[in-house]
């Protein structure tokens, strides 16, 4: 266990270094520095030079990279140009808003998508309906889905079309969270439908792959009910791709939810990322991507653990890795 923890940690460190390095050089190679976003128009060479000096952009690239590595080693990603605050702190301050959308969407997608996916693995017309719905939801661009949802007759008069809280409210405590959940209804619904489509399709495929295995037939022959076979046998055995999907999607929710955040003007990581890229706020871009990568790795790790815990072969320790 200790060994695994150590190797995972080492892997994470190398990954963060690699991602940060790649971004550092990419961002410094491309045209259009951060100066413009900071001064507006008419910036004369003097002004530009002064800002470049203040941000350290006038030093040789190699020297800047070394000091960047120094910062990275101390867990610091530098100061955001736009906000003049530590980039990591700015990033983390936007994380809760994104989690407010991500966590309920993932949980609801699992709660609805898993049973539907398992059901859709059986033959019959109901499965066809489930699959068709999932396919269409999968194929609808998520920003379009979000926009259409709030134009839908009921939704448009009941739920807010943007924002995380009511600026007129100034709520505290429980009232604040009620306000947030009321604002979150439409964006969470959008993300849930999107994630649910993936869940149904992957689950169905995983379960169907188990249906042809002999043990399923044995189970049925012994008189076990279909749903018991599905849930007790097929699901644990076919769970790997399902866990992998959810692990993978954690990273997606942190970056891919950008579109939904933009549609609903939701003050989360996605909007921050867009602004950081447009403003060429290098430390902030790197910080957002590093956090995204760490969450993806965490998601993958959780998926591995969950899989180990649920897989009867792995659990009993008999299987070779």
């Amino acid at each position: 266990m200790l060994r695994m923890t150590l190797s995972r940690t080492a892997q994470a460190i190398i990954m963060v270094w690699a991602v940060a390095t790649a971004l550092f050089f990419l961002l410094n190679a491309v045209p259009g520095g951060p100066v413009l976003a900071l001064t507006g128009e008419f910036a004369d060479p003097d002004t530009v030079a002064r800002i470049e000096e203040r941000l350290g952009l006038n030093r040789p690239l190699a020297e800047r990279y070394l000091s960047f590595l120094g910062l990275l080693a101390s867990g610091n990603l530098g100061e955001s140009y736009t906000y003049a605050k530590p980039a990591l702190a700015v990033t983390l301050s936007h994380l809760p808003a994104t989690l407010v959308l991500a966590i309920p969407s993932i949980l609801m997608a699992a709660a609805i998508g898993l049973p539907l996916g398992i059901r859709a693995a059986r033959p019959g017309p109901l499965s066809g309906v489930i699959i068709a719905t999932a396919l269409v939801l999968f194929a609808v661009p998520v920003f379009w889905l979000g926009h259409m949802l709030r134009l839908a007759p009921g939704a448009s008069t009941v739920f807010p079309v943007q924002g995380m809280t009511d600026p007129r409210g100034f709520y505290q405590g429980a009232a604040y969270w009620r306000d947030v959940s009321y604002h979150a209804v439409l964006p969470v619904l959008t993300l849930t439908m999107h994630q649910m489509a993936y869940t149904i399709l992957i689950t169905r495929r995983a379960i169907r792959a188990q249906w042809v295995r002999p043990y399923v037939r044995t189970g049925l022959a012994k008189g076990a009910s279909v749903s018991r076979v599905e849930w007790r046998h097929a699901l644990p055995n076919g769970a790997a791709p399902i866990f992998a999907l959810f692990g993978n999607r954690i990273g997606w929710f942190l970056s891919g939810a950008i579109l939904v955040e933009v549609v609903y003007a939701w003050p989360g990581l996605g909007q921050l990322t867009l602004a950081a890229i447009q403003n060429r706020d290098l430390p902030l871009v790197i910080s957002v991507v590093v956090v995204g990568v760490l969450f993806t790795m965490l998601g993958n790790l959780l998926a591995d653990i969950a899989q180990t815990a649920s897989d009867p072969r792995l659990r009993s320790g008999k299987a070779a890795s």
Partner: protein
């Protein structure tokens, strides 16, 4: 399911190959009054600059399929090569390749695309290439596993004993086994390429020298109250194409 997929996809393919067959207008030119609802002559109406929407959708088919084709081919090419090489050689090379695959795999793809298109300017080719260059790790893992399984089968062992070179063995004996997983990912990757490009278009990052369905939706959304058809038809077309891609895949993996 495969038949359904083909049925849905065939008009799109047809439009991409022979656009003139379906619609005769220059998709960039002003050919009628702006914002005409669907009428005779312009069965899907015209947009805010007086362009024929059907002609624009038809022209967009080529861009969409090209995008999907490039992304999928690159994915299969890189994923296949990396998977085969890693599985066959093992050891340090295997380890290094798989670490690299992991590195690419954890990159947030939409962020990478946003960065690349914002920094270098929106270009369809750039988006397609970036998608291809970042989508292969999953496939590489699958093919590596497949290769490992095949490695000790009789026909491979025999080829080895007969003195066949590594490259020959990989191409002649191992690659065929990799075809099934490659086809399985082709559909989802093609669909996600089209959907991702649509997302970038929504953020204003589409290549204006190509017609993109996603960009038509974005423009159409802002004219939703003047002309619902402008967002509805390109939206339906994206759904149709992506469902078709998904159906083609479902059929190759599951139906016995």
């Amino acid at each position: 399911m495969r038949a359904g997929g083909m049925l849905l996809l065939s008009p799109v393919i047809l439009a991409a190959i022979v656009p003139g067959l379906i619609s005769g207008f220059d998709p960039f030119a002003e050919v009628a009054a702006p914002l005409l609802p669907p009428t005779e002559g312009h069965p899907l109406g015209t947009d805010d600059l007086g362009r024929d929407l059907l002609s624009m959708l038809v022209a967009g088919a080529r861009g969409a399929l090209m995008l999907a084709l490039i992304a999928v081919s690159l994915t299969i090419l890189i994923g296949g090569a990396v998977g085969l090489l890693a599985g066959w050689t093992g050891g340090y090379i295997d380890n290094a390749l798989m670490r690299f695959a992991e590195f690419i795999g954890v990159l947030p793809r939409l962020l990478v695309l946003l960065l690349v298109t914002t920094l270098l300017g929106p270009s369809l080719l750039l988006v397609a290439t970036t998608l291809g260059l970042t989508s292969w790790p999953g496939l590489a893992r699958l093919i590596r596993a497949e290769t490992l399984a095949q490695k000790h089968r009789e026909h491979v062992m025999a080829a080895r004993a007969l003195g066949c070179g590594n490259v020959r063995i990989m191409l002649r004996h191992l690659a065929p086994a990799a075809i099934a997983p490659a086809l399985a990912v082709a559909g989802p990757i093609g669909a996600s390429a089209i959907l991702t490009e649509a997302g970038l278009s929504f953020l204003g990052l589409s290549d204006p020298n190509f017609i993109s369905w996603g960009d038509l939706i974005r423009n159409g959304q802002s004219f939703f109250h003047q002309g619902w058809w402008l967002a509805a038809f390109p939206g339906l077309l994206i759904v149709q194409t992506c469902v078709a891609f998904a159906l083609l895949t479902e059929s190759t993996t599951n139906d016995p």
